[in-house]
Symmetry: C2
Subunit: 213 residues, 2 copies
DNA sequence: GAGAATCTTAGACCGGGTATAAAATTTGGT
DNA sequence: ACCAAATTTTATACCCGGTCTAAGATTCTC
């Protein structure tokens, strides 16, 4: 997989070049105001070639999805034996945050990224679809582990809801104008509160096991 | 709101007529194979008029969404004071099931409905969007009640995930060929299991407070 | 270097969706 | 019952995303 031929290397380069050109146009003029024909021309390539690499226009902007999907899959698959999924996911999100990763949502750059996203319903819709794909992936992995199709689906959907909430909360605050540093500091608590609710449920809080109140 | 003029009554009739004609064409020939121009012609109306009533083609098929949204909102808003949201939602879904309502998902008709839905990515995508709108509505109502924006969002997303799981589980089974009566009998347990997980979380099961076996 | 396999291209084409301005219809007042 | 204003419907032209096709260019394999 390391030693690729010239053809494969050219393809990867072309793919990245097209996505970069497109993203540049999107951030300066907005998603809807840029046509695929324009992108093709600016990238020195034909319209068909653009669609060759990116089946939908939206994929030109949301091209990191596959990487993220695979990473989340690895988080679940490679967790220590016996560890609950939620625990692994919680740890992973704390790591993302500590590393200042864009997907933590608590970073200055999200402003530009998100404003383009928000400006186009098609783009938002595609992102929701991608979140849904994450849910499908999780459901598949969990079903493999436990054999219980229904529980897997349920837990996967709850997990996905938690993850998207964790991501969108800081993004929303930063777009709303909150101080990025402050958002970043708060984010660890956001992660923990979200996973606490996921693990313990939204029902009325139960008294501790050996009640002494 | 009861006594409408002639104009308003005609509009409602036209709207329903167009949706019915469209649905008829969709179920016999598939969503993608029917063009909006065809629908307009079959309904004896111009293409522009179709788009006047239904902004997107997908809305011609998923035209019950607004009703459902308002009903779910009423479930939350009109629940007895002090009752947890999850309790109200659980009760509502049991009622849907007992009434044999299509939105319970456990009814013979879903087969046709769902196969059309599945045949078109655009339709599926639109439905996911609608589920998302339910989440937004719930988040809004809960935020009004508690004032805690973040918790509201989180709970709303978890609730939405639960609801969609409850709906899709029987639909999936019926489409897969399971006996409808059996699915219907199982559905009450599905609802309870789902809400139990929502209320108590996916974490390791805590021992009951005063264990009595 | 030849031929097979693959990638790119031009160009025509389809269908969803919008814009515009004119024609038809309902409304309310008299 | 008629007229004028408001609203709805219509025809038409148009844009853009996306697909199809067949031919041309490039890379691979032997």
């Amino acid at each position: 997989m390391a030693e690729q031929g010239l053809r494969e290397r050219k393809k990867q380069a072309t793919r990245r070049m097209i996505a970069d050109v497109a993203t540049g146009l999107f951030v300066t003029r907005g998603f809807d105001a840029v046509t695929v024909a324009e992108i093709a021309e600016a990238a020195g390539v034909s319209k068909m070639t653009v669609f060759n690499y990116f089946p939908r226009k939206e994929d030109l902007y949301l091209d990191r999805h596959l990487d993220r999907l695979r990473e989340l899959e690895a988080v679940v698959r490679d967790r220590p034996a016996g560890e609950p999924v939620a625990t692994a996911m919680r740890r992973y999100h704390h790591e993302l945050l500590a590393a200042g990763h864009p997907l933590s949502g608590a970073i200055a750059g999200v402003h530009g990224f998100w404003s383009v996203l928000q400006s186009s319903p098609a783009l938002m819709s595609r992102m929701v679809e991608q979140e849904h794909e994450i849910g499908d992936m999780l459901a598949g992995v969990l079903a493999e582990e436990t054999g219980d199709e229904f529980s897997a689906r349920l837990v996967a959907n709850l997990l996905t809801a938690t993850i998207t909430t964790i991501f969108r909360t800081p993004v929303g605050r930063i777009v709303a104008g909150d101080d990025v540093e402050q958002v970043r500091r708060d984010q660890a608590a956001v992660i923990d509160r979200a996973f606490d609710v996921l693990e313990q449920g939204i029902g009325p809080r139960r008294e501790p096991l050996h009640s002494d109140g």
